[in-house]
């Protein structure tokens, strides 16, 4: 956009949530000596050190997978959530440390539209009063003036002004989202955070609402922060796009540049994952494997490194591109416990097809131990390069075995053994163990 006047500047914004809801959740029994009770509080790092600017009149698209913190970021910017750290400059004022009264007054210039048009409208209120309520809260106009403005706004968002006296349930989803738009516009805001406003709508209705939002932006000179998981919608509506992964913005660029020449491997993976409505391009997807890591304990270093297809090989190993790709996929498959090793040949066929690796067995003295004390539905992984005298025992420390005797696990039959411990127990893992050890360098990097 021209002018380059920023309406909102976010600096190092951070929002952490503490997990656990009660007193006892935070207390752990610790019998290792000293006072037997230990207080531990875990934090979900929903938004971590995020900085960006939004210029007046532009639409900044914010895209990411669910759980990446995009909604939290949107809410924290409006201070619907109290930021843990960082500054939010809105029109030059830092709203991160405004008191309640001042904050309330800035709300006149900032509004929000929510995802679910059903639950964000009071079913017992008529449409007119719904649209008038923000004006009442900010003491704008008198009764007649408010009604007149409500009718004007209903018309502006593409509804019939005569619908003033109807209830929300009498409208369809798209129409309800228009009511939400009218309500947000009633106090004449400069800046609107739109949190997945069209995700609940059908394709044809979504297009109608998106078009209306664009027209309104021109008419009322609005600035949008448009949050969505749908890259097609983001591409349609945004001027610039920010891509979020695990609480951080990994790439921010002009729309065309981001979609045509993405620089971050995550953006590239995301773009190649979306199906395109064109059958001639079918089947050309490359898909990120695995799940997004737990934001309670994000990977050290680059947060995307555990899934990154362009992970840089450690210097210590002299690997060609193909070799490194095979080793990387194998390491990640081991970590995800994604396969059950039947035989050396099967594993080689699956992961090292056409790639031959040299190297000596057992050259490394460090290896990684995966400890997951909880049940793995909300699995928390801690990666620590632990010096270990025997690789087998390190591998054996898989989930739920921490408090048990190691031998019990080792005695379990191969059929039910985990990928990693049977790897360690079988001779075929030997030639690769050297390569496996590079996991620790990956983890350290």
């Amino acid at each position: 956009m021209s002018g380059a006047e920023s309406i909102l500047r976010v600096e190092n914004l951070t929002k952490h949530f503490s997990t656990g809801s009660g007193v006892f959740d935070t207390v752990e029994l610790d019998l290792s000596g000293g006072f037997p009770l230990k207080r531990t509080v875990e934090h979900v790092r929903a938004v971590d050190d995020v900085s960006f600017e939004i210029e007046r009149g532009e639409t900044l698209g914010l895209v990411g997978e669910s759980g990446c913190g995009k909604s939290t970021l949107g809410r924290t910017i409006l201070r619907l959530l109290q930021p843990t750290d960082g500054d939010i400059y809105f029109k030059g004022r830092n709203i991160a440390d405004l008191d309640k009264g001042e904050l309330r007054r800035t709300r006149k210039d900032q509004q929000m539209i929510f995802q679910d048009p059903q639950s964000s409208l009071n079913p017992r209120m008529k449409v007119g009063p719904i649209v008038e309520e923000p004006m009442k809260a900010h003491d704008l106009y008198d009764d007649d003036g408010r009604e007149e403005r409500a009718r004007e706004l209903l018309e502006a968002v593409g509804l019939d002004p005569q619908h003033y006296n109807r209830y929300p349930h009498q409208f369809s989803g798209g129409q309800r989202q228009r009511i939400n738009l009218a309500r947000a516009l009633s106090v004449d805001p400069d800046f609107i955070v739109c949190d997945e406003p069209t995700s609940a709508l059908d394709a044809s209705i979504q297009a109608q609402v998106l078009n209306t939002m664009r027209e309104l932006q021109e008419e009322f000179n609005l600035t949008y922060l448009f949050i969505s998981h749908d890259l097609s919608v983001i591409r349609h509506i945004s001027d610039r796009v920010a891509v979020m992964y695990l609480g951080q913005i990994v790439e921010l660029a002009e729309k065309e540049e981001l979609f045509e020449d993405p620089k971050h491997p995550y953006t590239r993976s995301l773009l190649s994952a979306i199906p395109v409505p064109d059958p001639s391009q079918a089947g050309s997807r490359t898909i990120l494997q695995g799940d997004v890591p737990d934001p309670v304990d994000p990977p050290s270093g680059c947060r995307f490194r555990t899934r990154c297809p362009e992970l840089i090989p450690p210097d210590a190993y002299d690997l060609g591109d193909d070799e490194w790709a095979a080793v990387r996929e194998f390491m990640r498959a081991v970590r995800r416990r994604a396969f059950d090793p039947e035989s050396r040949a099967a594993v080689e066929a699956e992961f090292f097809d056409g790639v031959s690796l040299g190297g000596e067995a057992g050259a490394s003295s460090t290896t990684r131990s995966t400890t997951s004390p909880r049940r793995s539905g909300r699995k928390r992984r801690t990666y620590s390069p632990t010096p270990s005298p025997s690789r087998a025992s390190a591998h054996r420390s898989s989930r739920r075995t921490n408090s048990r005797p190691v031998g019990r696990r080792a005695a379990s039959p191969p059929a039910t053994s985990t990928a990693s411990n049977s790897l360690a127990g079988r001779p075929f893992s030997r030639p690769h163990s050297n390569r496996l050890a590079s996991r620790s360098s990956e983890n350290a990097g």
Partner: protein, 372 residues
Amino acid sequence: MTASTPLLSVDNLQTQFETAEGTVRAVDGISFDVHEGETVGLVGESGAGKSVAISSILRLVESPGEIVGGEIRFQGETLLSFEEGPDGERRRSPETLSNEEFRRRIRGREIATIFQDPMESLNPVFTVGSQLQEFIEINRELPPKDARDVAIETLREVDIPKPEDRFDDYPHEFSGGMRQRVLIAMAIACQPSLILADEPTTALDVTVEGQILNMVSNLQDEYGTSFVWVTHDLAVVADICDRVNVMYLGQMAEQANVHDLFDDTKHPYTEALLNSVPRPDKTVESLTPIEGVMPEAIDPPAGCRFHPRCPDAREVCREINPDARNVSDTGRPHNAACVKHDAFDVDYEHSAPIKSEDDEFGEDLQVTEGSR
């Protein structure tokens, strides 16, 4: 269609719901075939009747809904058909499989299903493994221990990491994508010939959706299972389907091979739908939305059901409700329910175009009164 008998053939299926306001014809005479090993898409907006069609095939329609007509044949066997009774009323014919027989032999064993919401389809108070094991015990008549082994093997098949450990976890301990994998495991556990998938990836993230789509196509290669894939997402259709059926308000609008549907669109509704979705692969300056909203199935418009929203509508469209006929000029069948094609011969050319009934407010004058 090809010479071979289709795996599943649905002919003129009609399902309606009796409500206080009147009869809702949710599915009003749809016909389609599924051949062995292919993926058939069933596309439409919400309210088009896609899910009701799936439930009807599986006989999961509950009161006040009722299947009132049509014929369903599966592997040459009649699952459902109707005949005229002595008083002229329509009743199920004697060839129709009884509900019990259907439940015992077909549902789950031969025709399995995957629903949209994996949280609602799994029982939260039983472990994932026990639910899967129970399903296998009943449908494959295996003793519990063998069923457990099969269950674990199936979970591994759908890429659940460490299935023997996850077997005793509860559904809430799985992520959304994992739960959907469990449901897919349940569907493939009895190696059915046909899986009806009702928006299975709609609630998932793009990366997870991609993983699931890849997995499904791998499983299909392995087992040769046929799929009916219900979705509203044309991109998913383009990606995985071989043939596509587009539904509008309980009826078929267009049926074609996936390439023909996208490259040589014959029905204005499909065309409009394609123009209204934003594209991830190119910037579209302005979307062309379809005017208005889909009317309620309780009171469908006379004539062609799409004509009030159709850019090509003419006077004749008010009178004739076209069936989906073959309008192809290539060798491949391509059915479209639109009178603008010569196959209908209703003098569309000389009919006066309908002036848009919408005034400046478009959809928004049609308030959906009576909806709850």
